[in-house]
Structure formats: structure tokens, C-alpha cells
Symmetry: C2
Subunit: 322 residues, 2 copies
């Protein structure tokens, strides 16, 4: 069976996105190594463009569209569109601005002001709508009908998955000794891209997913062998509320060793530890893998563990330990 | 006249401290470059051991003491001592632990709990005393008399100054195009070490000091041509409250182009910008150079500006914008 995304597609994504994204650094901390009883390498995608790994997938998707596909009958160019109030929206806006096309973002009207400002800051055309799924879909459809904009799903998109896989590809280049990789899992774009990358480039290494217990659809789906969506989960890890998709689930089911959940308290403690000891601003979702490592010493078996720090976008006026 | 610290002493310090300190990374931000209309390179000493450049000076001073100097008549080894509630105390504790000797720290009893905990965490023996200078000196003298501990001044010490100069030395190695360096100035250990380093290794480059307006003793001393101490200044940049010393002032007077002051508001804004855009946790003192760059565009004339991010130790439960 043809894989969802080939190793070659991840390599090509790396080449395609290279002019527009950072090769982010990898950090270590002796204090955190002692706490985890392992050597932990942190791939700092919080320092990525738009402050999250999402720039990789969005740029790959936007620059994979051919000039012909972009061309409208009136000679002007189509834009791209998505629904999100999070990092993918900002990433798509950034990617579209790099290509010189319009990004449309459909966002719930009750989204936090700081997120609205972030997406607007990258030049997207924002349309607000009521926060029900029906309203969102109708609003999306109306804009696509009117503008011809091309939909870029936040994770259920092969080019997005290939782009997200480049983070792990770089990390394996930067630290060849890594024998275990942990990534957070929400919709599964990062985890599936990571799993495919590791399977292709270093099949001896293991891949784990890290998930909030309060939004444990991925763990339950993994155990059941089929997608079990989660309804309106409440977790501080706001990037991990979505459920696995039709493309991401089978990849995760095949290539991931296990999915491990952690409490909200453990997420906040891990986040604070990174801020205090590594001096890195990371968002709650990005702290979930470290929370797993701290909680489950011995369960994640690796001597050289690579963690993908997924992002660093957080409202600095409202920190979870306050 | 023999300089306070020679270029050779800075080079030797680099070799001496290398096993115990990080070669910290240099970061850039396109958003901040646009805001400053220059290319700004940030030397991330917030990621240094103990979270501040102070590890460099303390390690150099502690490892410069000869075995003979350390030996007491009863065959045991002397410790080191300082008075500080800030980064130097933590740094000296760290340096002493690396050498396997005792660090004594005299600290005002009203120091913030988070600072007491930090210094205690590095294994120092803390003695609390009332917060007057007289009490502090008496307490120091009593401990030195009793234990033979060797005093390591936070900045008025040639080995400390040489150690602090290694941050700029590394930065010039990492980014050879730098034509201007800005460092914060409190007691002047970092700024004098930086100025001597730049004068020795790249004399075509300029060095500026950055200081809170609310604690502008260095600027006033620089203008007057003599040390004008400051009395109990109130600034959020808690690392920059001290006045210049007998060793640091003449170096700064000779080698620094200018000292530029900024408001408390500008410091907080610059600090928040680094947290938001660079995803780096930095302390208020470390934001002062960027505040200068943002405030005084055109005044600081450099195309490739190197900024020393002095530290990242801050109580995360009490942020200045809240």
C-alpha cells in the first residue's frame, strides 16, 4: 500500500520550505536530564516562524500548489482558506504572504483577542462566525464559492503532514544518536509526520505520542484501533483539543509505539520547568512530551530522547501558574 | 599603564572556564531587526549556567585561586564568600561547587524568597543579616575571620572582569561582522570586560553601555569623569542597581563610546518583545540594551549590533506587565 506520505515527500518538503522557515536549534538541560534520567534533546519549534512547527506544513502546502491551480479564469490568483483560531491560521497567513496570495481565515467570534491579533498580524483576511460547526462550514463554503480559495486543512492534508515531518528530519540530522522521539498529538499532523519520518530515516528509533488526559481521543483511538473523536475537551493544552483525522490515524496506528497521557497539573509543571531552567517560552501543548517523560520514567525507554517543542504562543498576561 | 585586565587574561579566562560554562547561542529576530532598523545579534547568556553571564566571572575567579592559596594551616580548604542577593551569589555558589569548596553568601534577611531558594539550590551556605551596609560588612568580616573564606567581589575584581569579558569574546567569534556591542551596566563588570575585549579583539567596533534612567550613576559618572554613586535606586532592572567600582569605572571611561539611559516603561516593553517574538525568558536587566536600541534609533550607530542578554532569572509568578 502506498504510504500516506513518502520519505521522498518529506525530503522534498524540506527543500521546498527551506527559504521560508528556520532550521530551529536543539537545546539540552542538565537539570532536566537529571530529572528524566535520560539525555533529552529539545527541538525548539517555538522559535520557528509564527512561533510553531505549523509554519512547516502550511508553507509546504501553499508552495506545493501549482501556478495553474492558483490561476482563476479572470487572470487573478486564488487564495487559501482554513478554519482555526490557533497556530495553523497564523501559519497559513504567513505562508500565503510568502507566496503573495490571500489567506482567508474563518474564526469563531469568541476566539481570544490575542489570537485574533496574531492571525491579523500576519495579514490574513479574517471572517468571524458563531462557534458552531454548522456556522463555520457554511461560512467557509460561502467564501470558497465567492473567491475560489483553496482549503488547507490543519492536519488532514498530505502536504501538511509532509511539512510537519521535516521537524523530526532536521532533529535527526542535528542529533544522530536519538533513539526515541516524543511529539504531542492533537489532530495528529505533527505526530504522523514525525512517525513517517522516523520510520523512513531511522527505523530503529521509537516514536511516542504525548497527550493530555483531558483530551485523550488519540490514546483511546490507538487502543480501539479506530478513530474515537473527542467532544469539546477542556485542557490547558489548547493546541491539542482536536481529534485524529482519516489520514493521520492510520499512520499513528501503524508507526507509533504508544500514546501516553498526562494530567493538566503535570503539563503546567513541565511547562514551568522549561521556562525556569531552559529560559524558553513554550506553550502548554509543547510541554506535554516533557510531562510524559517526567511522569513515566522507565515507561518511555530511550537513552537519547528527542522532544519536539511544538510552539511558544501564549498570552503572556495570563500564565497558568498564576 | 598596565590595563585593568589584559586581552591575554580574557583569553586565559576563556580556557579556564570552558569546562564549566556554556558557549551560549546567538539569536536573531527579523521582527526585532525591523523595529530597530539594524541587524541585531543576541548573545543568550540567559541560557548560561545559573541563568546569567555571572557564571563566567565567578568560575574564572574561583578557578584562578591556587591550591596553595586555598590551603588552610589545618590542611582543610578555604571557601569563598560574597554578599549579594542576585546572580553573582548563585554564580559563586555554582563555581565553588564545581571546585568542591564552600561558598558563603551573606544576604539581607528581606531578600525575595525566590532568590534565597536559587542561591540555596546551588549549595551555598547562606547567612542572613539586616539589610544595612554596616550589618553586612560586620557579618562578612566575622565569617571571613572564622573560616578564612576568600572574598570574591561581584564586579570590582580583575578575574571577575576577565571572565565576564569572555561573553563578548565568544560573540565576536560567532558573528565576525559585529561593529557595535551593547551591554547593560550596573557595577560595570560586564561592561568593562566587554569593552576591554572589544578594544583588544576588534578595536574598530564601538561599545555602548545601557542603563535604567532610574539608576543612572554610570551615565552621570561617565559625564562627570569620576564615580558618582547612586543611593538606593528604584528600578525593575534589579541587576543594575549597584554603582560603578574603582576598577570598572576607568575602563568604561576610556573604552566605552557612550552610556544611554531608558525609562522603566521602555525596559518592560523591550523585555516583553523578546519573550513574545524570540520566545526567550529574559530578566528586566537583560532587556535594557534592546530598550536603548528601540528608543534611540540612529543614536547607536551600528549595522550589525551585538547585544549581551545578561540573564534570565525572574520570578515567573510576578511579571512586570501584570
Amino acid at each position: 500500500m502506498e504510504p500516506v506520505v513518502t520519505v521522498r515527500a518529506i525530503k522534498e518538503a524540506g527543500t521546498r520550505i527551506e527559504p521560508y522557515v528556520h532550521r530551529t536549534p536543539v537545546f539540552t538541560s542538565s537539570a532536566i536530564d537529571r530529572a528524566c534520567r535520560a539525555r533529552v534533546y529539545f527541538k525548539a519549534e517555538n522559535m520557528q516562524k509564527v512561533g510553531a512547527f505549523k509554519a512547516r506544513g502550511a508553507v509546504n502546502a501553499v508552495f506545493s500548489i501549482t501556478s495553474e491551480e492558483l490561476l482563476k479564469t479572470d487572470g487573478t490568483r486564488k487564495g487559501v482558506i482554513t478554519h482555526s483560531s490557533g497556530n495553523h491560521a497564523a501559519a497559513l497567513a504567513y505562508a500565503a504572504s510568502c507566496r503573495g496570495i490571500t489567506a482567508h481565515v474563518v474564526m469563531p467570534e469568541n476566539a481570544p483577542p490575542v489570537k485574533k491579533a496574531a492571525v491579523a498580524g500576519y495579514g490574513a483576511k479574517i471572517t468571524y462566525c458563531p462557534s458552531t460547526q454548522k456556522d463555520r462550514e457554511q461560512t467557509m463554503a460561502a467564501i470558497m464559492e465567492e473567491t475560489g480559495a483553496i482549503f488547507i486543512h490543519p492536519y488532514n492534508n498530505r502536504r501538511v503532514i509532509a511539512g510537519q515531518g521535516t521537524a523530526a528530519m532536521e532533529m535527526l540530522e542535528q542529533v544522530s544518536s536519538i533513539d526515541t522521539v516524543i511529539a504531542p498529538v492533537g489532530g495528529g499532523g505533527l505526530l504522523s509526520g514525525t512517525a513517517l519520518c522516523v520510520a523512513g530515516f531511522k527505523s530503529s528509533a521509537k516514536v511516542y505520542g504525548a497527550e493530555p488526559l483531558a483530551a485523550d481521543d488519540a490514546r483511546r483511538s490507538f487502543q480501539a484501533g479506530k478513530i474515537i473523536p473527542v467532544e469539546n475537551p477542556q485542557t490547558i493544552a489548547d493546541g491539542l483539543k482536536t481529534s485524529l483525522g482519516e489520514l493521520t490515524f492510520p499512520v499513528i496506528y501503524e508507526h507509533v509505539t504508544d500514546i501516553i497521557t498526562v494530567s493538566e497539573k503535570a503539563i503546567i509543571e513541565a511547562m514551568r520547568l522549561v521556562w525556569e531552567r531552559m529560559k524558553l517560552v513554550i506553550e502548554p501543548s509543547a510541554a506535554v512530551p516533557l510531562a510524559v517523560l517526567l511522569n513515566e520514567r522507565g515507561q518511555v525507554d530511550g537513552e537519547n530522547i528527542g522532544v519536539i517543542i511544538s510552539g511558544g504562543n501564549i498570552d503572556l498576561a495570563r500564565l497558568p501558574w498564576q
